[in-house]
């Protein structure tokens, strides 16, 4: 019996990963800073949806923003995640205040599977000058258009009534790797 693989068709330099990104369902998405910008595009006839769709999608994005946008316990923590001047104070239902990012636009995309209709998600600013949904999908601009993974329109968990995030809760990076940093290889 043969002791080796029949085929080992692999080459290095990233191809194993580059090809794998296109497996998710994609939809054509647009971003707008507000409903008026959406309707202005509708009038130019360049969009698949109507002025009523713009209003409905933006109202939905506004509602989702109020329900799912991240809430922080301090202005400084909020601005660290979303940039200076991009946060507002909100009264908490049980008393006290929290801070959340300002609504900075919406993503709108066609529903998949021929169901017709549109889905939307709110956008707020990020610390690096981009825009992000509450679920974490980042886009470069709030006046753009292009293909996007349909999962970007999944609604994020509600933040209403949850304790606001502290400095320690906010997203962290770089927590892996320091213990092995002195070695030339992590393996062996």
């Amino acid at each position: 019996m043969r002791k080796r693989s029949a085929t080992v068709a692999l080459t290095l330099m990233g191809a194993a990963f580059a090809l794998s990104g296109c497996k998710e369902d994609q939809t054509e998405a647009s971003s707008f800073p507000n409903a008026a910008a959406c309707k202005a595009q509708v009038e130019q006839g360049s969009l698949a949806f109507t002025a009523e769709d713009c209003d409905a999608a933006f109202a939905q994005a506004q509602a989702d923003h109020n329900e799912t946008a991240p809430r922080y316990d301090a202005l400084a923590v909020c601005e660290e995640q979303h940039g200076a001047g991009n946060c507002e104070q909100q009264a908490q239902p049980g008393g006290g205040f929290s801070f959340m990012p300002l609504l900075a636009g919406m993503l709108i995309g066609q529903m998949l599977g021929g169901r017709g209709g549109f889905m939307s998600q709110p956008l707020s600013r990020t610390a690096d000058g981009r825009y992000a949904t509450p679920g974490g999908t980042k886009v470069a601009t709030n006046t753009g258009k292009g293909p996007m993974n349909a999962t970007a329109f999944n609604k994020a968990p509600s933040t209403i009534g949850k304790p606001p995030m502290t400095q320690a809760d906010a997203m962290r990076r770089g927590g892996f790797g320091s213990s092995g940093a002195a070695r030339s290889t992590m393996g062996g």
Partner: protein, 424 residues
């Protein structure tokens, strides 16, 4: 499982019982045209100015030798390691000796009890035609997967095509197929798996990408992220560099380092699955060697091994020690190796013969770690180089062979990779 031998004798004569004609040989061969490297993206064919891949010669084995001397013993050794893990997780004192921090012992034990599956590992074996001896088992983060599974495979195909090797030549290398099959049996189709390696290391990246190719062939979705770019969301989930949630993570980064990292405490709450699972911290750990020797004393593929703390006095002046030590005393006195339990790349390893240093690692990064003592078995020498056999385990079965050789007795990261073939 075999019974422990009551009175083991360190029997070097076994090594020669097949005579010189049937065991591993080193054969000079015409190398291929050197453009192959550029075509395949093999970026570390030279490391530190020394050739890393050298195909001017190759090691030849017989099929019987591969199957009875390497494949079957390695599979059996893996099963013995699993038995040792089962014992260690029930023993707080052993968990302590293995260097598992108290805060992570539950993680390690739970991963074992919940049958968190293993994917791969590489045993380093000393082999000179007799019983292969387990030197150590890199069961957590073995590298050189790409060279073994793919590059030497291509070498064999090319050399058969070129007529340098005969049509019937083969290679012990079902690694790529076995890995693809392993992913297929462990995860539902299209499971997204993230692969992480330290940024900027070509050797580590090659192993990670070879693994990702196998995962893709097994029907998985593969995503890469630099280890250092992994984030932790406000909800406690790990995120890749593009903020996608990590559900399953292949990490080419050892558990003993994760235990000491800032994100170590986030492992359990994250809910992520890890490849390799946390219990591999017990296998990829030289402290498993004395546990194996205690459980399977005299096994033909094991070398006598002890915790240094238990036998330092007995080794120095011959006093004290256990009956187990007494039975191995002569073998250890003739020559032994002192290794830190988590050493990499040969760091902080010393070889002593009759009490005198024979070879000592220059890199002492692991000197502060707990150490084990293992009987010294010299590697065979071919043209001035000493080969160490890497027996690759996929799941619970040996699936391939990769050979590295070094001029020094302690195989370090300057060792070179040698292809092999089966003929006869």
């Amino acid at each position: 499982m075999r019974e422990p031998t009551p009175n083991p004798i360190w029997d070097l004569t076994r090594a020669f019982r097949f005579g010189p004609t049937v065991f591993m040989e080193k054969i000079s061969l015409t190398p291929r045209a050197d453009q192959r490297e550029a075509e395949t993206g093999f970026t570390f064919a030279e490391m530190h100015g020394e050739p890393y891949w050298d195909e001017t010669s190759a090691y030849r084995f017989t099929l019987e030798e591969i199957e009875t001397r390497i494949e079957d013993p390695a599979t059996e050794l893996h099963g013995m390691c699993r038995e040792a893990v089962d014992r260690i997780v029930k023993d707080e004192r052993l968990m302590d000796r293995m260097g598992i921090p108290p805060g992570f012992r539950d993680l390690v034990a739970t991963s074992w009890r919940s049958f968190a599956p293993e994917v791969y590992g590489r045993m380093d074996l000393a082999y000179d035609g007799g019983d292969a001896k387990l030197l150590e088992y890199n069961a957590d983060t073995p590298t050189s997967l790409y060279e073994t599974a793919s590059f030497q495979w291509q070498w064999l195909e090319d050399q058969i095509k070129a007529g340098v090797l005969p049509e019937g030549a083969d290679q012990f290398n079902g690694l790529h197929e076995a890995l693809a099959e392993r992913f297929r049996e462990l995860f539902p189709a299209n499971t997204d798996i993230h692969f992480a390696a330290a940024a900027g290391n070509a050797e580590d990246y090659a192993t990670v990408e070879a693994m990702a190719w196998a995962a893709r062939e097994g029907g998985m979705g593969a995503h890469y992220t630099d280890l250092e770019k992994i984030g932790l969301s406000a909800e406690g989930q790990f995120l890749d560099a593009e903020d996608r949630v990590i559900g399953t993570l292949f990490k080419l980064y050892p558990w003993e380092d994760i235990f000491r990292d800032e994100f170590g405490a986030a492992i359990v709450p994250s809910g992520a699955r890890f490849i390799e699972p946390p219990w591999k911290a017990l296998v990829s750990n030289k402290a498993i060697l004395p546990v194996l020797w205690e459980m399977f004393e005299g096994h033909p593929n094991l070398l006598p091994a002890f915790f240094l703390n238990d036998v330092a006095g007995a080794l120095r002046d011959g006093t004290g020690g256990s009956p187990l030590f007494d039975r191995a005393r002569d073998a250890l006195k003739a020559g032994h190796v002192v290794k830190p339990i988590f050493s990499r790349e040969g760091s902080s390893i010393d070889i002593l013969e009759n009490g005198r240093p024979l070879e000592t690692a220059t890199d002492r990064a692991y000197d502060d770690h707990p150490k084990v003592v293992q009987a010294y078995v010299p590697l065979p020498v071919f043209d001035g180089f000493r080969p160490v056999l890497g027996a690759w385990i996929v799941g619970e079965t040996c699936a391939g062979l990769g050979i590295r050789e070094d001029r020094a007795r302690i195989t370090q990261d300057l060792s070179r990779f040698k292809p092999h073939f089966i003929q006869g």
